[in-house]
């Protein structure tokens, strides 16, 4: 499988020359000869689902935004990849920036946007330099600007550097941040596709989603759908970390099983140890036990196993991992990153982490685990955005799947 990471294997893949020699910007040229609405239709037919975590059909987003009469329209790339365990966008941003630029230019043409922003995670300074250089080169070569490829299409692209807030990966908080305000989610509706950046129709897609576009346009929806599963078509980037022999980013078809990823592609568990647990899609997805290895990694099958595809950031734990500490570490992350707008997330998650901290320091009480479940239940489904819910389902996942260990009765002690 070599579509999203294809160019990386070529020398100087970050350079325009390297990208073009390996077939880059052909899709843009093809797209500009198509009708914008045909591109939107093609994307909708392909069933491409957003790669940021929620899996919303990209084609539907584009359709709504392109049909909104308000002008101008904006295009935003969500490159605020900040969830622990997720680093699948990094290779595109750092090694294949032109793929993103090409994908965005095609998308902009399709929906009728003249301005685009890449909202880049504040902790990716290398990517910032690489992207900015790539943008300058693209302007010079006519892939960006007022008259792209001489075909009368105007698209300007800017990099906006975040300041280290996880919440700004939430699309409406991202828009607030882009507008110079405090990063907090907005009330929906109106949705960004109708009233987003500067209250104008705005399409926000993940880096990887945009990276799928050039290929999709090149081969067409029919060929694209041959990859992956019928409900989750296309290639997917999985970033694998933790106790495996070959951690890294792997491009595989949607629906590849956990077993194949861990044992075939990542070379199995480190030091021949036993697998204990896997977080399948970044820390906001519930942890899974070792007996779920045959679960196909896609939007439809993971929920059947009590988890979610999320961003596709796998974290693998072997038999020696102290899952209570892992749970504390993850909860502390959510406490730190809660924006503070809504009560359950702001106060509830902090409460969870303070209980877990006490438990980890050996001062746990028998009723603590029940309290964790109670608090999680009180957070879940009551928050303003998905951040607090994420924290709650993660704690629930740990307690439900590894209750004896969470209660301090069994499991490895570090």
């Amino acid at each position: 499988m070599n579509i999203l990471l294809k160019h990386i294997e070529y020398p100087e893949s970050t350079e325009l020359k390297g990208y073009c020699e390996s077939g880059g910007y052909k899709a843009l040229s093809k797209a500009l000869d198509m009708k914008p609405s045909d591109i939107v239709d093609e994307v909708r037919r392909s069933g491409l689902r957003g790669r940021g975590g929620a899996g919303f059909p990209a084609g539907m987003k584009w359709t709504i935004a392109s049909m909104d009469p308000k002008k101008p329209k904006y295009l935003i790339c969500n490159a605020d990849e900040g969830e622990p365990g997720t680093f699948k966008d990094k290779p595109i941003l750092e090694k294949n920036p032109h793929l993103l630029i090409e994908g965005m230019a095609i998308s902009a043409y399709a929906i009728g946007a003249e301005y685009g922003y890449i909202y880049l995670r504040g902790e990716y300074p290398e990517a910032k330099e690489i992207l900015e250089k790539a943008i300058i080169d693209s302007y010079a070569a006519g892939y960006l600007g007022d008259n792209i490829l001489g075909k009368g299409f105007k698209f300007h692209l800017f990099v906006y550097f975040g300041a280290g807030a996880y919440i700004c990966g939430e699309e409406t908080a991202m828009i607030e941040s882009l507008q110079g305000k405090r990063g907090q989610p907005r009330i929906k509706p109106p949705f960004p596709v109708n009233e987003g950046f500067l209250a104008k129709p705005t399409v926000i897609n993940n880096v990887e989603t945009f990276a799928n576009i050039p290929y999709l346009v090149e081969v067409g929806a029919y060929a694209y759908m041959k990859i992956g599963t019928p409900e989750s078509p296309g290639p997917k980037l999985f970033s694998v970390s933790g106790s495996v022999n070959k951690p890294g980013v792997y491009e595989l078809p949607m629906g590849t099983t956990l077993r194949e990823i861990i044992y075939e592609h990542c070379g199995g568990i480190k030091d021949g140890k036993k697998l204990k647990a896997v977080i399948p899609g970044g820390v906001s997805t519930p942890i899974m036990t070792a007996d779920t290895l045959d679960c196909p990694m896609d939007f439809v099958n993971l929920p059947k196993y009590g988890s979610m595809l999320g961003s596709g950031g796998l974290i693998v734990f072997d038999e020696t991992a102290d899952l209570r500490k892992v749970c504390l570490r993850i909860t502390e992350f959510f406490e730190h990153e809660s924006c503070g707008k809504c009560t359950p997330c702001r106060e509830g998650v902090g409460w969870l982490s303070s209980i877990l901290k006490r438990m980890c320091s050996g001062e746990g009480k028998p009723e603590d685990v029940e309290l964790l479940l109670e608090i999680s239940k009180n957070i879940l489904g009551k928050c303003f955005c998905a951040l607090g819910d994420g924290a709650a389902i993660v704690v629930q996942g740990f307690v439900n799947n590894f209750r004896p260990e969470m209660e301090g009765r069994a499991g490895a002690q570090a």
Partner: protein, 871 residues
């Protein structure tokens, strides 16, 4: 039509609203914390979660819009449990210090917890610590109690437009703090305190002085500070106002207040408060009895009248006093003394400006409802910064701007700087040149429509006569003018706000005519920025030398007869003296007695040295006031009048809305109107006024515009111009074109001019006796711009010497880069260093008001702050 069902009750709605709104309309209570009727929905506290059929998750009713057929349940087990959970979460980091907290008893968190919350909390870990902050003189912040509902932040940025506070940090470490750090650098409207649901933002002035349940009485009344006439509830304990509170549905301010209204009311209990009558004896004022004081004043008035004739007596009315007081004073002057010598400082700006516009556009042309500003499609402001002198009116302009309505301002206006789509800041006194360019630019795009042939004829003549005089000498580039013309050309029914500075100058008639042309071309509605609570009422009560109550001219025989019949006395047909004419006459020894009601002439008149000389020459100076002041010190008799909360009456605001001022506390002094009727009685005319109701009854009988008005009608909130009366519909036909040579002035660059600074914190009248406002108001200062600063090389805080032809003094300097050219702004708040005390004046020949433009002054650096500290 949308039909929804809440708790089994069918509700029909005309337009989609939130579930919360729909529930409230049908009397179903859903508890909330972050929601506030004055603010946009936020959805943060999650207390208002409700269950909606066919939706798996609970939804926040404050943000969820209703859809047709929606079925909502607000009291299911799931909802009740969620509510309890949210309150438990809110108390995780809350100190639970209710017994110590001033908010206890009126705290939304406390009330909701008692009603819906868990009885026992399960949180056993450490709470967030954040010491209470006393860095600010007015606002105490306690961030341990804060529930981060952000009501204060939304109020400050989305409604007040001050953007002074923010949430610092993230998540459960968040807290509210001013951008400036500990001390607030803000407008001190205190609207954040109003909306804070807990004890996090509290007034320091009232800290630990009362508990909500100590309040014995609440009185809905009208603020006494400016011409907007905001409503509020005065909360009384014993004989003092402990606090004023607003309600989102109350009055035309709809819950908003400004710094003066909210914090300044303590002037009524200041140490300068006059409580017993004083009489001048052996060169000093001594306490005396009412009987002696009244008979002395009355006797002396009678004596002067007999000796020199009624024309030797004058009276000064006041926009700080009620309609009833002012009516009584003019009745005393016209029917008892027999002179039309009655005027006030309202005659410096408000009166003449109104008269000018009424002559062109008809009586009542300047009386327009305030909401019209946000409902218009453009705003043009000139002559005063409404956000400083009439802050709640200023908020309307800000709200208009926020709605995307174009706002054009002329002159230095710091409070509207961020809200104007086009700020024109011309060189000193070059407004006529600027307006000429705007008008001719606009006329090219939008020719006159032919609606008013008479006025269009005047426009033609006027534009012809000014065309030669147009110079580009206003210091603005062509692109600025073009942009402003384009903005103006977007407007079809704009609000035109006009302030003091366009009238207190020698070319006022030119400016007013230019503004009339602009108003005509734009189809604008006029708003006069009224600085005193009863400017309009004073005019309506006939406290002008040429008009009778109801705004009818004194020279009209039929009108005069109407009043003469009612008063049983003859009223002279000739116009009386204007205020500055009275001062001149006193100086020349022609005016012998002056009755001053509620006015400090030695602060609010220019060249106070001259005024003092004039007052010292009087045979009788009676001062009827509530507070001791520089003028009262010179008086022969000082008569203490009831202060604003101590007496019943009414104010008429800048919209022409008559509002009921209620008695809230008992005072030791006498009602103003009563003092006047006692004097009339001693002179020998018995008035049958027992209460204000009798005065209002007489007024409504005799004034052609105030027919049948009652206090209960005022209480309804809709006692608006033209009441039930007969406004004059005649438009003057004998219009005299002003001298257009006035437009062309010599270049003023390179010289420093003095102007009165418009102060938000107080205007120097009653406010300077408020200890709360004095905490905020710096001592007198000179505010200068960058150009002058370059010449002087001073820093903020350095001391400068300023001197005019009539006075010199030392003042601390404040640098304000937005001030253009060499202007020096000094507030008129301190009697010894007030801006007016430095000013020379000339009599404006059209309006007989003091023209204050072109007051050149010398300014030089005396010493720097650093030197002072070292010394």
């Amino acid at each position: 039509m949308i039909t929804i069902t809440i708790n089994g009750k069918k509700i029909k709605l005309n337009k989609p609203v939130t579930i919360l709104e729909a529930a409230r309309k049908s009397g179903i209570h859903i508890p909330t914390l972050c929601d506030h009727p004055m603010l946009e929905p936020f959805g943060g506290c999650r207390l208002c979660l409700v269950e909606i059929e066919k939706m798996p998750k609970l939804q926040a009713s404050c943000t969820q819009q209703v859809t047709d057929g929606m079925v909502v349940w607000t009291e299911t087990e799931k909802v009740v449990e969620a509510r309890r959970a949210m309150l438990e979460f809110l108390l995780v980091n809350h100190p639970l210090d209710c017994p110590y907290c001033d908010k206890a008893g009126e705290c939304d968190l406390q009330d909701n917890t008692m009603k819906y919350g868990p009885a026992i909390g399960r949180f056993k870990e450490g709470k967030r610590k954040h010491p209470e902050c006393y860095d600010d003189p007015i606002i105490v912040t306690n961030m341990e109690r804060c529930i981060l509902c952000s009501r204060c932040i939304r109020m400050c940025s989305d409604v007040q437009g001050a953007d002074a506070i923010t949430i610092t940090n993230r998540g459960n470490k968040s807290y509210v703090e001013p951008f400036s750090g500990g001390r607030f650098d803000c407008e001190y409207c205190g609207n954040c305190i109003t909306v804070c649901p807990v004890g996090s933002l509290m007034s320091r002035l009232h800290k630990h002085t009362y508990r909500p349940w100590y309040i014995e009485k609440e009185v809905e009344t009208i603020c006494s500070f400016c011409g907007v006439g905001c409503s509020f509830v005065a909360q009384i304990r014993g004989d003092s106002i402990v606090r004023v509170e607003t309600r989102p549905d109350l009055g035309l301010n709809k819950g908003l207040l400004c710094v003066k209204g909210r914090f300044g009311f303590d002037y009524t209990v200041s140490s300068a408060r006059l409580k017993s009558p004083l009489i001048e004896r052996n060169g000093g004022l001594k306490q005396t009895t009412w009987a002696e004081a009244l008979s002395h004043a009355a006797g002396k008035l009678k004596e002067v009248k007999e000796k020199y004739g009624p024309a030797a007596i004058g009276a000064i009315a006041s926009g700080l006093c009620t309609n009833e007081d002012n009516y009584a004073l003019q009745r005393l002057m016209r029917s008892v003394i027999g002179a039309n010598n009655i005027d006030s400082t309202t005659g410096f700006f408000y009166g003449p400006a109104q008269r000018f516009f009424e002559d062109i556009f008809g009586q009542g042309a300047t009386l327009n409802p305030m909401q019209g500003i946000t409902n218009s499609d453009g705003v043009f402001v000139i002559g005063a910064d409404p956000s400083a002198v009439t802050p709640v009116l200023g908020l309307q302009v800000r709200a208009a701007s926020r709605k995307g309505i174009p706002v054009v301002t002329v002159g230095h206006m710091s409070g509207l700087k961020r809200f104007a789509t086009c700020s024109l800041n011309p060189d000193a006194f070059s407004e006529p040149a600027l307006l000429n360019m705007l008008i001719s630019g606009l006329m090219k795009k939008r020719p006159v429509c032919g609606e008013n042939i008479f006025f269009e004829d005047i426009i033609k003549k006027f534009m012809l006569s000014t065309s030669d005089n147009i110079s580009d000498a206003c210091g603005l580039g062509k692109s600025d003018i073009d942009k402003a013309v384009d903005e103006l050309n977007l407007m079809t029914n704009p609000a035109i706000l006009i302030g003091r500075q366009v009238v207190q100058r020698s070319d006022a008639s030119v400016l007013l005519l230019q503004l009339s042309v602009l108003i005509y071309l734009l189809n604008g509605r006029i708003y006069l920025i009224s600085e005193l609570p009863n400017d309009q009422g004073l005019v309506d009560m006939g406290c002008q030398p040429d008009t009778l109550p109801g705004g009818r001219p004194v020279f009209s025989d039929s009108m005069r007869k109407r009043y003469e019949d009612s008063y049983g006395a003859e009223i002279p047909s000739a116009q009386g003296m204007r205020l500055m004419e009275m001062i001149q006459a006193a100086h020349e020894g022609k005016l012998k007695a002056l009755y001053v009601m509620g006015e400090n002439l030695l602060l609010n008149l220019p060249d106070t040295g001259y005024v003092k000389e004039a007052l010292l020459k009087l045979e009788l100076l009676v001062v009827q006031d509530t507070l001791m002041n520089e003028t009262a010190e010179l008086a022969h008799v000082v008569l203490p009048a009831c202060s604003w909360p101590e007496a019943e009456g009414s104010y008429t605001n800048f919209e022409g809305r008559m509002q009921h001022v209620k008695k809230a506390v008992h005072g030791e002094a006498m009602e103003g109107w009563k003092i006047i009727s006692e004097i009339a009685k001693i002179i020998g005319v018995d008035w049958d006024f027992l209460t204000v109701v009798d005065i209002l009854a007489e007024l409504t009988k005799v004034s052609p515009v105030h027919k049948g008005i009652t206090y209960s009608e005022m209480d309804s909130g809709n006692c608006l111009w033209p009441y039930n009366g007969e406004p004059l519909r005649d438009i003057a036909k004998d219009f005299v074109l002003p001298d257009t040579k006035l437009i062309k002035r010599e270049k003023c660059s390179g010289r420093s001019y003095l102007s009165a600074d418009q102060q938000l914190f107080h205007s120097g009248t009653i406010g300077r006796n408020s200890s709360a406002l004095n905490l905020l108001m710096p001592a007198s200062y000179a505010r200068i711009g960058s150009a002058l600063n370059e010449k002087l090389s001073v820093k903020t805080g350095d001391t400068a010497s300023i001197s005019s032809g009539v006075k010199s003094a030392e003042l601390d300097v404040i640098i304000d880069p937005d001030i253009k050219g060499m202007m020096v702004f000094v507030p008129n708040t301190a009697a010894d260093k007030g801006a007016l005390s430095f000013m020379k004046w000339s009599m404006n020949k059209d309006f007989k008001n003091p023209a204050l433009d072109g007051n050149e002054i010398e300014i030089s650096k005396l010493r720097s702050k650093a030197e002072e500290v070292a010394a």
